[in-house]
């Protein structure tokens, strides 16, 4: 069972009150009296640390003395071992989590905007941009490993739930600055890459890493929400924050890099699509983190603090939910659009290859392939089929009736009056 070592140092006048608090918390402790002050050392189960620090704070220990909470690698004490064994036998399998003070302390440390944070953000964003442009999943994952964005995201959520407005402000500020730095770095890198011909002149939406972020679907909300919950749990349960940070970065760094690429190219669809994705992911991560910390019971202990943090929580969750619903609606439209377009392509295939189609049973004409072209329909987010190109493999030019029949099959099979272009490609048959 994880434990913490508590050092409580108080002036002699306060030592009895501190001892009473430790007794009330049913803690195993040692008392060392000095001339002017008293030191208590206690080896405390993780789940009792929160109550113990609350009791010591109420006793006024933190006003005139101090409480230090630290983790121990090992404790060599026969008495402690026996006690631990007894506790393990008695203990029901329960949930282990760090105390509120530890959580606030680690969130403060992680949410700090340092030079390393900014430099790592710039580097990870540039690597992500080059990975996205090269359509290399391995490089994009590499960029996420060094991205430090989990800290500020979790700090703002912890600040909201524990009623620490300063921590919330610092977290949000570092998060926004980090994302802006990521966008600018990726845009500058992509602009230079395009200017100095580091990227071949291709249709940018043909790159899978870009098209999936330029036209984001609703599934991304689930990914970001899961990342937020995992990030919160990593802080409260002692899981590796570095590892879970990669998951948070999945939802933030590649979309930010794609926004930068869209800006460098001046492409409204890529820029707007990935901006919507980035905003939805930021809101989802913060919302999920906030709700997870609240569910785990990290609200402040005092009545007034609890009411104040509760009010702040309601306002912030309401704000995040409103924007999330608004932006998710856009992503819902895109998801529906993708779904209907996939159904359209399947209908085209059935119309061309199904029983009773113009091409079925013919030996002089065979289907070589088909392409559905799309055009933008509505603010660059929606796409509708604009043309179906059918390629045929023929040994001699086919009669016009074949092209007319194919066009009729496609229109009847899909139920849409979309233009159909038939392109015969003659092949020589060697006998």
């Amino acid at each position: 069972m994880p434990k913490r070592l508590l050092h409580v140092a108080v002036p002699r006048g306060l030592s009895d009150r501190a001892e009473a608090a430790l007794e009330e918390g049913e803690l195993d402790y040692r008392r060392v009296d000095g001339d002017l002050s008293t030191l208590f050392v206690a080896y405390v189960p993780l789940e009792k640390v929160g109550d113990a620090s609350d009791l010591l704070r109420e006793a006024g220990v933190t006003e005139q003395g101090f409480v230090s909470i630290s983790s121990t690698e090992a404790l060599l004490s026969r008495r402690a071992e026996e006690r631990e064994r007894d506790e393990e036998e008695e203990e029901e399998e329960g949930e282990l989590r760090v105390s509120r003070d530890e959580l606030v302390s680690s969130a403060r440390e992680m949410g700090e905007m340092t030079q390393n944070y900014l430099v790592l953000t710039v580097i990870s964003s540039v690597i992500a941009a080059s990975g996205v442009l090269a359509d290399s999943t391995a490089v994009v994952i590499g960029s996420m490993v060094i991205a430090p964005l989990i800290g500020p995201a979790m700090a703002s959520s912890v600040g909201t739930v524990t009623g620490e407005p300063e921590l919330f402000r610092r977290g949000i500020f570092a998060e926004v600055v980090g994302l802006l730095v990521a966008v600018v770095s990726a845009a500058a890198f992509a602009a230079l890459a395009f200017r100095y011909v580091l990227v071949p002149p291709i249709d940018i939406l043909a790159i899978g890493q870009i098209s999936e972020r330029a036209v984001p679907g609703l599934l991304n909300v689930g990914i970001a929400f899961g990342a937020g919950v995992a990030g919160a749990l990593s802080l409260t349960s002692g899981m590796s924050a570095a590892l879970v940070g990669v998951m948070i970065a999945v939802a933030l760094i590649p979309p930010a890099a794609t926004v930068g690429i869209g800006i460098a190219l001046g492409d409204p669809q890529v820029t707007l699509g990935s901006t919507v994705l980035l905003l939805v992911n930021v809101l989802s991560i913060n919302l999920a983190g906030t709700l997870t910390f609240r569910y785990q019971g990290y609200a402040p202990g005092g009545f007034f603090e609890r009411v104040r943090s509760g009010n702040a929580l309601i306002w912030r969750v309401g704000f995040m939910l409103s924007f999330l619903v608004l932006l998710s609606t856009t992503m819902g439209v895109i998801t529906y659009d993708t779904y209907t377009n996939n159904v359209f392509e399947q209908d085209v295939r059935s119309a061309l290859t199904g029983e009773g189609s113009t091409l079925s049973g013919r030996t002089d004409v065979a289907l070589a392939g088909y392409n559905v072209h799309y055009e933008s329909a509505g603010y660059g987010f929606r796409e509708e089929p604009s043309e179906v190109v059918v390629e045929l493999r023929v040994s001699e030019p086919p009669p016009d009736a074949v092209a007319e029949g194919i066009a009729r099959d496609v229109r009847e099979g899909t139920g849409r009056r979309v233009p159909v272009v038939v392109e015969p490609r003659e092949v020589t048959v060697v006998r």
């Binding site: 710039v122 500020f173 500058a188 602009a191 800006i263 409204p268």
Partner: protein, 52 residues
């Protein structure tokens, strides 16, 4: 309280990103160069303003 260089740098950075977005819709490359330059200067100012 946040250092004035950090706040000033963040303002420059935000202005740079805003100009870059305007470039996407107006297609004026001068706006892109200006936006990215402001963003880069803002980033450097923030890096100088925060502690190691």
């Amino acid at each position: 309280m946040t250092d004035w260089r950090v706040r000033g740098g963040a303002a420059l950075l935000a202005a740079g990103v805003a100009l870059s977005y305007v470039h996407v819709f107006l297609g004026n490359d001068v706006l892109l160069v200006l936006g990215l330059s402001l963003g880069a200067i803002g980033t450097v100012v923030i890096v100088l303003g925060v502690r190691r």
